[in-house]
Each structure stands twice: as structure tokens, then as C-alpha cells.
């Protein structure tokens, strides 16, 4: 294990350190809370000097960017922590990686110049493997998700409600991957807090409308990858 201590001078005001990491492989099945616990512990192991909540039982203050559905992979997830001491952000990367499994590899750490509120939309690639898939079926799937309205049953605090989620869908393109026989959907969804749409709702809608993904998981399966987080100008969020 890489040994290092963070003994730089105390900062006058804590700085936001942004950690960019992946969530892939078996780690895609862990929930947001599980992720939080895992990161909390790795940060404690490397003694990163970060701000803890005040109170009887201090816990580290961690803020994650737009939530990722359980089961979805992502090459770029973001975690913000407030550091209390002067430090070289790049030095944090190998330390964290020594304590993390490959599925949560950290790719970069830097002082943040933006806020998570700047995240406006997210792009997902959904691949559906199903017997009888074809370019026509792929196009049909794309059309189904481009309709208006798209009414889904949403869990809300005040109970289950039928909601038209089409305003949160910013773009849908579909294609057919001849080589693997996969239907490929590229979907851009709103991801600002308040209008965030979980792509699982669209998959369920698609499945209900088309009958796809209703069979045995040994014959039909799908993957979801969040490929980008964008700001309001359509630029990759950093």
C-alpha cells in the first residue's frame, strides 16, 4: 500500500476536491448508500484530511453527482469532498486506487471549479439483446420512445402516480449492432435536480409497449451505461 501523509498547512477555507471515478463490473450493483459507505472508508484509510459533519457522531461530508441507477455502469462519476489542508490533488489518485476495487477506479482528482447544479443532462447507451432483433425492431424502439406522451408509473413521496415523462427526454437515437445482434439506443435525459429522469422508467415503458425483455434473462438481456454528463451548454461536465 502507498504510504503518505497529508501534513500540508491548514487552509483558511476548505476547498472542494472533485474525485472522478468509474462504476463498472460487479460494482454496478451496489446502491448509492453502499457507494457512500465504501468511499467513506477508503477516505478514512488514506487519512485524507476532509471536513466531517459536526455533532455527536462525526461523519465525512461526501457529495455525489447525479444518481446512477443500480445496475448501470458509468465511466465518469463525480464525488466532492471538502479538504481542510493544502495538498496536491493528483497525489490522492494512487492512494485511493490502492484501496478500491477495479470497478471503482479513480481516474482524476482536482479542485472543482463548477458546482453539481451545473449538470443539466445525461446521456445513456442502452443495449438490448433479444432474439429476432433487427434494424427494423431497433427503429421501432426508437420511435416508441420518441412518442408523446410517455406515461409511466412513478414512485413519489405522495404515492404512485402516472406521470408523462416525455418533457425530460431530450433526444433518442436508435441503431442496430449487426455484429452482436444488439439494439442500441442512445438517450439523452434531463439530469438537473428536480427534473432528473431515471432511464429504468423508459426501459420498463419500452418493455411494456413492445413486449421486449419479458422473457428469460438467459435469452434476453440489456446493459445501461451512462456515457456523459453535460452542462447547460451541452459541454461535458468537469
Amino acid at each position: 500500500m502507498v504510504q503518505m501523509t497529508f501534513d500540508g498547512p491548514l487552509l483558511e477555507k476548505p476547498k472542494t476536491l472533485r474525485i472522478r471515478f468509474q462504476k463498472t463490473g460487479a460494482l454496478k450493483y451496489i446502491s448509492h448508500l453502499d457507494l457512500m459507505r465504501t468511499m467513506t472508508r477508503v477516505i478514512a484509510r488514506v487519512h485524507l484530511p476532509i471536513k466531517y459533519t459536526c455533532g455527536f457522531h462525526p461523519i465525512p461530508h461526501l457529495v455525489f453527482s447525479a444518481p446512477l441507477p443500480v445496475g448501470a455502469e458509468s465511466p465518469h462519476e463525480f464525488l466532492d469532498v471538502a479538504v481542510l489542508r493544502e495538498l496536491d490533488p493528483a497525489s490522492v489518485v494512487p492512494l485511493l486506487n490502492a484501496g478500491l476495487p477495479a470497478g471503482l477506479a479513480v481516474d482524476a482528482a482536482y479542485f472543482a471549479e463548477t458546482k453539481f447544479q451545473a449538470i443539466a443532462s445525461a446521456e445513456y447507451t442502452i443495449k438490448i439483446h433479444t432474439p429476432g432483433a433487427s434494424a427494423d425492431v431497433a427503429k421501432y424502439c426508437g420511435d416508441v420512445l420518441s412518442e408523446k406522451p410517455i406515461t409511466v408509473l412513478k414512485h413519489t413521496k405522495s404515492g404512485d402516480k402516472n406521470v408523462d415523462v416525455s418533457p425530460a427526454i431530450l433526444g433518442v437515437t436508435s441503431s442496430f449492432d449487426e455484429e452482436n445482434g444488439d439494439i442500441v439506443l442512445q438517450i439523452c435525459l434531463r439530469a438537473d435536480s428536480g427534473s432528473f429522469l431515471n432511464p429504468d422508467y423508459l426501459l420498463r415503458y419500452l418493455s411494456d409497449q413492445t413486449g421486449l425483455l419479458k422473457g428469460s434473462p438467459l435469452e434476453e438481456w440489456y446493459t445501461v451505461t451512462r456515457t456523459h454528463l453535460f452542462d447547460a451548454n451541452g459541454q461535458d461536465f468537469v
Binding site: 460494482l27 453502499d34 477516505i43 478514512a44 484509510r45 470497478g103 434473462p217
Partner: protein, 617 residues
Amino acid sequence: MCINEKQMSGILRSVEKPGRYTGGEFNQVIKDKQDVRCRFAFVFPDVYEIGMSNLGIRILYHALNSQPDIWCERAYTPWPDMQEKMETYHLPMTAHESGDPLGVFDIVGFTLQYELCYSNVLRTLKLAGIPLYARDRGEEHPIIIGGGPCSYNAEPIADFFDVFSIGEGEEALPEFCRLYIEMKENGTYTREAFLHEIAKHEGFYVPSLYDVTYHEDGTICAFVPKYDDIPTKIKKRIIEDMDKAIFPEKLVMPYIETVHDRVMLEVYRGCIRGCRFCQAGMVYRPIREKSPELLDKQARCLYENSGYDEMSLVSLSISDYSQLETLTTDLLKWTDEEKVTITLPSLRVDSFTESLMEKISSVRTGGLTFAPEAGTQRLRDAINKNVEEEDLLREVNIAFSAGKSSVKLYFMLGLPTEELSDLDGIADLADKVVGAYFKNPNRNRAKGVTVTISVACFIPKPFTPFQWEAQDSLEELEKKQKYLLEKITNRRVKYNYHDARVSRVESVFARGDRRLAPALALACEEGVMFDSWDEYFNYDKWMDIFARTGIDPAFYANRTFGKDEVLPWDIIDCGVTRAYLWRERERAYQNQTTPSCAEHCNGCGANCLGGKNKWCK
């Protein structure tokens, strides 16, 4: 059958908590199969979150994996939703690290922590496609070994196991694997030859090498060894010097939340108390402590390697640790700064001091828990729970002064010699604790007091002074539970009690013998599992199974066993002698207490096992 990762993803998405099955935890041990000469699958026959919380497995996983040519992996019983998928798609039961089916392992070990896991043991074997009965297994199947507290009376499940490891396993299990490797490699291995050979090693019980004969009245006549070179009694193994015991520096870190998701620091083994109902207090003797210096070092190491923010000091009765003061002082020197919380479970009222309270209240603790076990002094004396009412009231007052406002009290119902007045005593004691709160001038006035009394049913356990006692009938237990409910009128007292039907089935298996095997096999066939979970436990089903297999549950649960009767667990020597246990039973009926090991050696017999300890003569 084998399926790819994408196919698996559909299955994982459709079950509760997929993190139970994905493995890949930080610090899990992966080895190159080329370098491995013995593959061991360690099964905890319950769900992942429970199994991952077990300290024993953490230690044994490390003890086995510290041998370069042995690879120990973990496995847990899948939750029924996953089992359904496994059946539908013909997926085998696999180990966590490699994902290989249990059937390909050399050895499959089960830890037997509670009797109600037996149905899960069989279920897990079935999911693995391994024949349930040891006699039906061939050379191609793994050796099935059991261990843990229930192996002190393994008779009800003896027919399903090839061998049991009796006592502490950190030296025994590697030794077991070494013999396996040696015999495999020098060509002398057959299942039969190996089991005969291991039976000669101390601490290994091969049930198939002992015939059991019975009297006409159903009691056991004798255990007859099939060979004259194997012991007539199997003596348990212990680690002599806890300061030299192997210690897992790296913990496998679960991603999903587990029951005990924290550092567990084992402080000592054994117990100086002699509570007459308590099996752990007898079978883990003699007392062997670790030194505070070593513990501080180990605690620091575990924290550095895990990042856990909570550390629990583990032992049967933590306040009996002779150097607790030194240990907590040393720990608090660094834990506060690192924001690590220390928790002390299992406090005894009589030795719970004010300074200890100050220490633990400087870190987070939940409510406080005390275990008076019985409501009157008479009955507390009879069960040798050396706690006085004044002790309890003094301690709760210290707690109330420190700002605590909730106290939990553990009791047992159906204890030998119990009368209704003892149950009245439970209600009275709870009232007195509530009263103490209101009389305490320093109490936390912002909160109202809550006293929770949690009442379990007495279960006679092997190797205790009460091993001969009958459990109250189900009707009596339920009547007593109802009686107590009516006695509790104080609205600040919350009353919880265990399902007496669960305790009765537990009692049957705790004191059962080999004739219970057909019932377990039938239960497995009929889908019985997860008996320790309320939502799966089905009493009527068990009674039906007992009836169909010709078993009278009362013979095991509700019968007073004879003084000279051969007990199903007589094949095991746990150190503590039968003469001592009987002496203690007699004292119980005279309401006489017995001093702790720290005060006086009572000659229990455990000193014959050796071990470096402070108390034994």
C-alpha cells in the same frame, strides 16, 4: 450450467440486494488455482449480511488463506428469491471468490452458529447438488466438515456431515487440510481412509465411525467406536496463548450493509461467570485473555486497513476483562482523533463502573443494555447470575445521570425453579428502573424514559448445569408470556417476547440425537429453510414433519434427562466435567450461587485443556 455475465445481470437485477451475490469485495483473497493444492469453501448457512458479520469466519478465512497452497473461499445461503432463480435457470450454488460451484471443492465447511440454521445447511447442500447424507457421497464429492457452537451437540445433523471440528479451529483446520493434501499426494487417499486418519487427530469427530445404540425407553445406551485406534471421547481444541493466535489484519470489506459492519476486536475467550443456562460460558472455557498492548496494536491495524468508524470490543462479558481500564485508556488516545466510536456490548451490571460510563459516553453509544435474566434475587441466585437489584439500580442511575434515557433489560422465562412470583419480579424491576429515572435529579428532562424488557424463553443447552432440565411445555410458556403481559401496566415499559414455538423447535435440536436426521431430510425435501427468520419459520410444518418421521418433540424438549443417562453430546469432551455441571445443578435447586473464576476456582475441569490464563489453578 454456465451463463455469461450479461445473462447473470438480468437475474441479479431481478433479486433483492444483488450485492449479496456479486462478491469482489476489497481484501477478498484470490489465488492462482495452479498454486493451490486444497480448495476449501467456507459456508455460513444464512444470508450474506449475517454471515459477513461473523468474527469466527473472519479469523478462519485468514488462518486458511495464510497457507499459500490452501485457498479458502466464502459462500452464503442465497435468499429464497435468488434460490428460485437458481432453480428456474439451473444455476449451481457457487463460492464468492471464484464463482466455481461448491461441488468442485475439495472441502466444504459449514459453521453451525445456531440450531435453526440446520435446514439451511441441507438446503445449501441441495442447491450445490451434493448428496445430503454422508453415506451417499462418493469419491467425487467434497468432504463436508462442520464446526462452531452447535458442533458441541452435532448429533441431529451428524448423518449429513463427514466430520466435525470440535473447539477452536484456527490451528485445527489448516492441519485438516494438510492431512488431506498429504494423503492425496502420496496416493493413500480414499474418503474412508482419510476420515479414519483424521479421527485419530485431536478435536475431530467423524460420526460415521461411532455406532449409537439405544435402550428400549429411547434413551442412548452407548457410543461404540468402530475402530480401536480412535478416541472414545473427542476432546475440543483450544488456542493456548491468545497473544500468539493468528489474527486477520485485513478484513474483507462488504459493499452492502451487514449486521455487524465494524471492527470486531476479540479481547478474550471464555468467561469467568458461571451462569447456569449459558452454553457459551461453559464451552469456551478456560479463560484466555489478550494483553492490552497487543489489543491496542491490533485495533489500530484493523482500523488502518478497514477505515471502519466503529469498533466493538468483543467477548462474552467485556467488563470482566481484567485490564479493561488500561485497554480503553490506550484506545481512546487515538480513537477520538480518528473519529472512531468504541462500543462495548455485553456489560454486566455488577462491574459496570462510573469511569467506564464516562469513557463510553465520550463516544457514541445507543441505549444501554443490561441482562438481569430473572426478576427476583431468589431466581437470579438459582441461575447464578450474580447481580443484585441495587447493582442494577446504581448502574441505571449512572446511565441516567449521563443523559441516557433508554434502557433495555434482558430476561428469560421458563427457567428451572421459576414460579409466578419470579415473573412478578420482572414487572417490578422494570417499574423500579422507571422510578429511578424520575428520582434522578440529573436526568435528561428533555426526553421521557423508555425501559424495554426483552423476554426470551429458556432453552436447555448441552454442556450447561441445566442440560438435564425440561423446557416448559409450549402451553406453559405461552401462559407465562400472557401472565407477564398483564402484569406490565407501566406505559413507559415496553415488553417484547420471543415466539415460544421457535424456542421449542430450537430446544428439540439443541438436545436432539441422530434419530432427528430423517426429520431434517424430510424438511429439506419439503422446502423448509431460513427457520431463524420469522417470515419463514413454520411451527405447524415442523410438528407435521416430526409426526411423519415418528419423532416426539417432547422427548427432547420437555423431558427431564436422567442424572446417569448417556447424553447425545457425551461423545464430546469440552473440558468442563459432567460432575461439575451436576454439582452446579444441585446448587441451583438450593438457590446457592457459585463465585466467579476470578474469586475462586470451582474446579470445573477446563484447566485440563491447558492454555495460558490468569485464573485456572
